[in-house]
Amino acid sequence: MENNNCKIKLSASELPIGDIVEAGTAQNFITGDWRSERPVWNKDKCIHCLACWISCPDSSVKIAPDEKKITVITGIDYDHCKGCGICAKECPVKIKAITMEEEKK
């Protein structure tokens, strides 16, 4: 897989020695493109309990403060979500605000 963010390859003399890479580069690396199922979040059903957010192994459930400064779910980061379905599983049974759907490219 080609990393789209690193099209220019550094030469041996340009490359930082000792495998030093700036921090936080994983964010630029699109790891969600081999997902076979996608979580679809239903804004109207969601009670913002954050169970999905705390359970996501890829930090792919997006959150933000609302106008009352209360943290709410704002969507799914599909660049990094791998479609594991943990969020859908953890969403309270009575709510089920996340459903897993087949990925269509």
């Binding site: 690193c6 390859k9 550094l10 030469s11 041996a12 490359l15 020695i17 000792g18 495998d19 030093i20 890479v21 700036e22 921090a23 936080g24 580069t25």
Partner: protein
């Protein structure tokens, strides 16, 4: 155990292990992580006592294996600490995987290494199979002829490692140096501290203002470039070793080079050797010189980086050379030092000298002046054409 320390420096009678621990005390690294192994145990044992007695401010990490010792040393070094360890034989073997990580991450770790045979069969005595096994790990390797050199090499290694951004191991021959008492001149703490200076890494993991990722994945994209950098750092390290040796000579008065030439100016026959056996060979050479035999010696101090370019110049006019290896690569042909010396000669187009390979002293087997005199005798006969040079390995003092 000797706990006496001499902050002002003086002539002391110490074993190789004691004097390596003394050097570590004066260097006072931030972190030492180590696991005891014969014959290197005393080095870290004495050092841990220094820590326990509050003589040094270093952090001592008692780990459960050498793999962990190297891992903890790597972690400390990556975090920004001056980090050291010590080991021998199986211990170094257990570090093998991590040795490559230390060099690949370009961490200036210094290791006190006591050369010892590798099992099986079990043998705790001196030979160089252990560090020769780590030959390609990207570590600078400095060998010592005696305790004085071990002490001096440890001090220089600290500076070399930090300038070259490469890990360095300093060796002594197991028991022959590690456990034998000699008179060693130690230097005042202050002078050693001034010589090595403060360690200021360019980047370190505990620098929260400039966070970075270390040890990420390289694959086909960058691994090759990083390995080239490592090999190039090793080539560049020759000048750094010489630079540090010059500083050392100016400060402490002892002269060091990548290798030592002993009576080589007009030598017709020469032995190339590493470690304590050089001392024994020097005694033989003096006797031979009295008889008018032009014998010389090259003692390799820095085996990695290998001083190929200059060594060939010094060997070019010699008629017969014996390269003595205290390890056997079991390659079916030749042992490691011989392979390096001869490939260096061949690459430089020097085919005059007859080079023969002796393997000696495995597992601490005795190597005395008579054995070495016999080698020079053989070299004399080969040089004069009285005998043909053998092409296999000659094993010194082994029962067939």
């Amino acid at each position: 155990m000797i706990k006496t320390v001499y902050p002002k420096g003086r002539l002391v009678a110490k074993t190789g292990n004691e004097v390596m621990a003394e050097a570590m005390r004066q260097i006072e690294p931030d972190v030492v992580a180590a696991y005891p192994i014969t014959p290197a145990t005393e080095i870290v044992q004495i050092f841990s006592q220094f820590v326990a007695d509050g003589i040094v401010k270093s952090e001592y990490v008692a780990v459960e294996s050498e793999h962990s010792a190297m891992s903890a040393t790597i972690a400390a070094s990556a975090a920004g600490a001056r980090a050291m360890t010590g080991t021998s034989s199986q211990g170094l073997s257990l570090m093998w995987e991590m040795l490559y990580i230390a060099s690949g991450l370009r961490l200036p770790i210094v290791m006190a290494e006591v050369n010892r045979a590798i099992s099986a069969p079990i043998n705790i005595h001196g030979d160089q199979s252990d560090t020769m096994g780590a030959r390609d790990a990207g570590w600078i390797q400095i060998y010592s002829e005696n305790s004085q050199e071990a002490y001096d090499n440890m001090i220089q290694a600290t500076k070399i490692a930090e300038k070259a951004k490469l890990p360095v191991l300093v060796t002594t021959d197991g028991f022959i140096i590690s456990h034998c008492m000699e008179v060693v001149e130690t230097y005042p703490d202050e002078d050693v501290k001034n010589f090595i200076g403060e360690y200021k890494p360019d980047r370190y993991l505990l620098d929260t203002k400039r966070p970075y990722t270390l040890g990420s994945i390289d694959l086909q994209d960058y691994y090759f470039e990083h390995r080239w950098q490592l090999a190039q750092a090793m080539r560049d390290a020759k000048d750094i070793v010489l630079e540090v040796a010059k500083d050392f000579e100016n400060t402490f008065g002892r002269k060091y080079d990548l290798y030592e030439k002993f009576m080589m100016d007009d030598a017709e026959i020469a032995v190339v050797v590493i470690g304590s056996t050089a001392g024994t060979a020097k005694v033989v050479i003096k006797e031979l010189r009295e008889k008018g035999i032009k014998a010389g010696l090259i003692k390799i101090r820095v085996f990695r980086p290998f001083p190929a370019e200059t060594i060939v110049k010094d060997l070019a006019n010699v008629k017969a050379i014996a390269v003595m290896d205290r390890s056997d690569s079991c390659s079916g042909t030749y042992a490691p030092v011989y392979s390096d010396v001869v490939s260096a000669l061949y690459a430089a187009g020097i085919t005059g000298p007859k080079a023969i390979n002796y393997v000696y002293g495995l597992g601490g087997r005795e190597i005395n002046t008579e054995h070495i005199a016999a080698i020079y005798d053989k070299l004399g006969k080969i040089a004069s054409g009285a005998e043909k040079a053998f092409t296999g390995i000659e094993y010194v003092n082994v029962r067939f």
